[in-house]
Structure formats: structure tokens, C-alpha cells
Amino acid sequence: MENFKIFVVEDDAWYGELLEYHLSMNPDYAVQKFLNGKDCIGHLTESPDLITLDYSLPDGNGLDFLKKIKQYDPDIPVIIISGQDNINTAVDLLRHGAYDYLIKDENTKDRLWNMVMRIKENTSLKKQVDVLKDELGKKYDFSKTIIGNSLAIRKIFSMMEKASQTNINVSITGETGTGKELVAKAIHYNGERKKKPFVAVNMAAIPKDLIESELFGHERGSFTGSTGRKIGLFEQANGGTIFLDEIAELDLNLQSKLLRVLQERELTRVGGEEKVKLDVRVIVATHKNLKEEVALKNFREDLYYRVIGLPIELPALRERGSDVLLLAKYFVEDFCKSNNLSIPSIHADTQEKLLGYHFPGNVRELKALMDVATVMCNGKEITADDVNLSATAKQQNLISEEKTLRAYTQDIIQHFLRKYDHNVVRVADKLDIGKSTIYKMIQNKELEMPN
């Protein structure tokens, strides 16, 4: 482990020697002395873990150097050590970010020793948290978050990249199991806010009566049973990102409260008066069509425009063509790695079976299927029999809505167009229909094609 680096800034050689002697008693501390503030500032690039700063230096006072240190790196703890016990000076220094203010007397040694130990513990915890956050960030690297090569998914990558480069609100839509939360996390952990909290909340999972207090917090005694102040999820996410999943499930009354918070960028806890400033990026998700919900008066139009931001529509797995196979292979490998198994291949019949299935549960369903198939197979190859598809799901999905035959035809062709990257010739071939039929439908705006 690297030594804990302490800079001692002290122009009094006698006292500097004493500080160095005491601090060096701990072999984990690497102490470096400076006789003036300027030299210390010049060595800040060496990233000290702690600085002890004499208040009266020949080239300036402690406050001037404290400001310069904090300007360089606000996280370096600075302990001011002074021969004067001026309370106003001490308050001023603490206000400018000094960790503490010590008077040079017979107790300095013990107090400094304890203080350094405390700072070292905090620094070590902070470093661990930073390492974990970095690891988390790597886990949510775009290429690892969403596996796929289809046109639809490449478009999603590009949208995610754009979203992570700015602070724009993002709305994610997609069927269940398409990976909405994963995309939200990837946007957060690849953006500027990655070291700040990511707070996910599922609106549908919180009882209606509790949701306001969960989101915005409450003060003690604001309702029966509230025995203390509770910090809400928005406050917990301050500086970072809040992910509001199933936003369409929020009732109209709370929608207006949410709108106010988003507009004012501040909130008031339930039963409180204090206004809390917010700097939170909002990412919302829903499996419903929010615009339709607005038309049905289930969702406020003003809130819709506030949260819609950059819309990302996640394609269903059945619209991602051969991505199904890439994902299946990835899930098999991942399962084998975490269970210390050798990786089986996926038989051609199995691949055909997977490509023909419509996956109502999307990627989540595919993962569950492949986990079971890996367990059930002979260890060398996953056969079609190892993959147990729900036989009725395909039919149910196709006829679950009442539509005209023309509408069903549109849905089917649209589905195949997405699946085969909008290659009209290939789709015509697969469906055994004429290319001109498809082109005519495109011309009549019955089918959507990318620009």
C-alpha cells in the first residue's frame, strides 16, 4: 500500500522538526517539509493526502495558501497549525474549508496524531468508494451494457453517447425486459455525474400514500408515525441522477408536484418549509406510450414536455435480428464464467429456434432461457431441446389486440423490416410477398423507414 503523504508547511525549523518527528513515528506516513507556502503550492502535483499549514508564513498567511490549495484540489484536507488563538481567524479558516485549526501548545501532538488518523481513515474509505465507483462505471461501459450489432441497437448506442455528454433529461421507452434501467445507468456512469449518486425508483412499486414522502422526504411529525426527518429520493440523488421508472403510473396529483419540483429545481419536504435546492438529472422510463397517455388525459402534457427530453426507444428483442444470437452466446459465456463451467456451443437448430421466437419478455427472458439451457445441456452443446420456449406466447402476442387484417399486415411487415435492418428485398423474400407491395406501403406512409 502506498504511504499516506503529508506535507508539513512550517518556516520555524524547530517546530517543523518536531512535527516531522511525531508524524514519522507512524511508518505509513511519508512526511515532506516546506519552509514556505509557495514551495508547497509548487508540489501539489504530487497529490498529498494531507497538508499541515502554519498560519504565519514568511511569504503569506495561512488563509491565502489555504485558498490556493482548495482551488487546486478541494478534497485535500488542510490542518492549520498556529501559535495564535484568534477565534475569528479560526472561524474564517474553517469557513474556507480548513479541516481544523490547532494551537501550538503541549497538546498539539496528541490532537494532531488523532486528527491525522481520522483523516487517513476517511481518505482510505473515500479511495475505496472511488475505486468501486470506477469499477461500477466500467461495468456500465456502453459496449458492455448492451450487446448487439443491429442497426436499431447501433442507433441506441449513438443516442446514449449523446445523452451522456450532456445533462439533458432522457426518457426511455420500451417493452418490459428491454433494459431500460441498464440504459439509464449507462448514461449516468458514462457522464460527468458518474461519481455522484444514481437513485432508481419504480413508481409502480411504491404505495400511493407513501410516494410523495419517498420522493421528496418529510419532516418529523408531518404525519402519524413520522418519528424523524426523512431525506427523500430526490435529495439523495442531488448532484447525480434520479431514474423514475414506470413514470406513467404516477397519479395526476403527484404529477403536478413533480412538475413543480422539476420547474423550480427545488423541493420542500412534506410537512416542512425549508426549500432544498436541487441539481438532479432526471431520466424517466415507461413501457407505455407517454404521448398516448397524454391524449388519454392520464399524463399531464406540461410534465410530458418537461420529462421527455431526449427520447430513447428501445427496440424489442424480436426486432433486433441476429442480436438474439449474440446475446444468447454472451449469456451462456457469462453464466459459465460465474459458475466455473466450460462453455458449450449453440447448435444451429437452437439458433434457428431462437431466431423464430418473438420473446415477449425480451432480453430478460432470453437470459433466463439461456441460463436454464446451459444447465440442462450436456456441457458441450446446447441443443434445441435444451431451450424450453413458451409455446403459447407466440400466438397470444399476435392476436392479443383487435385489429384489421390490413393493420396486422402492416405490423408484420414493420416487424420484419426492423428485424432485417430495413432491407426491403430480404423482407419480401422472407415473407414471400412482392417488393412493390412493401414499397407501396412505404410510399403510403403505412410503414416507417429510417431517414
Partner: protein
């Protein structure tokens, strides 16, 4: 003017050095080496009527003196620092600075002669 009184008291320094004789000697050597230059600064401060220069030198001497010197010298250095903080360089302050100079010369001799 010379005084026969023992001007040093090493009990605090011994405690600070936690029985490390070598380090204690080092601290005494630094005191012997650095004190005359600070006393010179106090003298120059009076010559230039620069109270801040006197205060700063007294402030520098204080930590070492508080751990090595007898109470009489500690009182002198604290007095000098306090008075000059308000820009006071009157006769009484000057007298105290002279006494501190004499005591400093004497304590250095005593420290050099100690066993």
C-alpha cells in the same frame, strides 16, 4: 549582565521527545542555531521601528522557548509578541527585548555546557 539562574527547563521537551535522547539533542541544537538570528531580527525591528518584524520574530521563538526555556523567558517572549501585535514599541517593550536577548545568550551558554 549575567545571571546564574538556570534558564532552561527540559521537562516538557523530554516529554515531547518520549525519551528519545538523540532527537532531544537535535531539537536543542536547532534552538541554539536558530535563536540568535531571531534575536537579531527583534533588534533590527526596534532599529527600524517595525513592530511587525519584532512580533514575527517573537512569534517564531515562542514554540521552542515554551518547550525549552524557564518561565521567565516564556513570559518575555509572549509579552513581546502581544505588545507588538498592537504596534507597541515603547520603552518597556524595548527593555523586555533587551532582557530576552541577554537571557537568550545565557541560555545558549548553559545548554552548551550541560552534560
Amino acid at each position: 549582565m549575567e545571571t546564574q539562574e538556570k534558564l532552561y527547563d527540559l521537562s516538557k521537551l523530554e516529554k515531547l521527545c518520549e525519551g528519545d535522547k538523540k532527537f532531544m539533542d537535535k531539537m536543542i541544537q536547532i534552538f541554539i542555531r536558530d535563536t540568535p538570528s531571531q534575536i537579531e531580527k527583534i533588534k533590527t525591528g526596534f532599529e527600524l521601528k517595525d513592530a511587525e518584524m519584532v512580533r514575527f520574530a517573537a512569534h517564531r521563538l515562542k514554540p521552542a522557548m515554551q518547550n525549552i526555556c524557564s518561565k521567565i523567558m516564556i513570559d518575555e517572549v509572549i509579552f513581546l509578541e502581544k505588545e507588538t501585535e498592537n504596534g507597541n514599541l515603547n520603552e518597556q517593550v524595548f527593555e523586555v527585548s533587551k532582557r530576552l536577548e541577554i537571557h537568550s545568550n545565557e541560555i545558549i551558554k548553559q545548554l552548551l555546557q550541560r552534560d
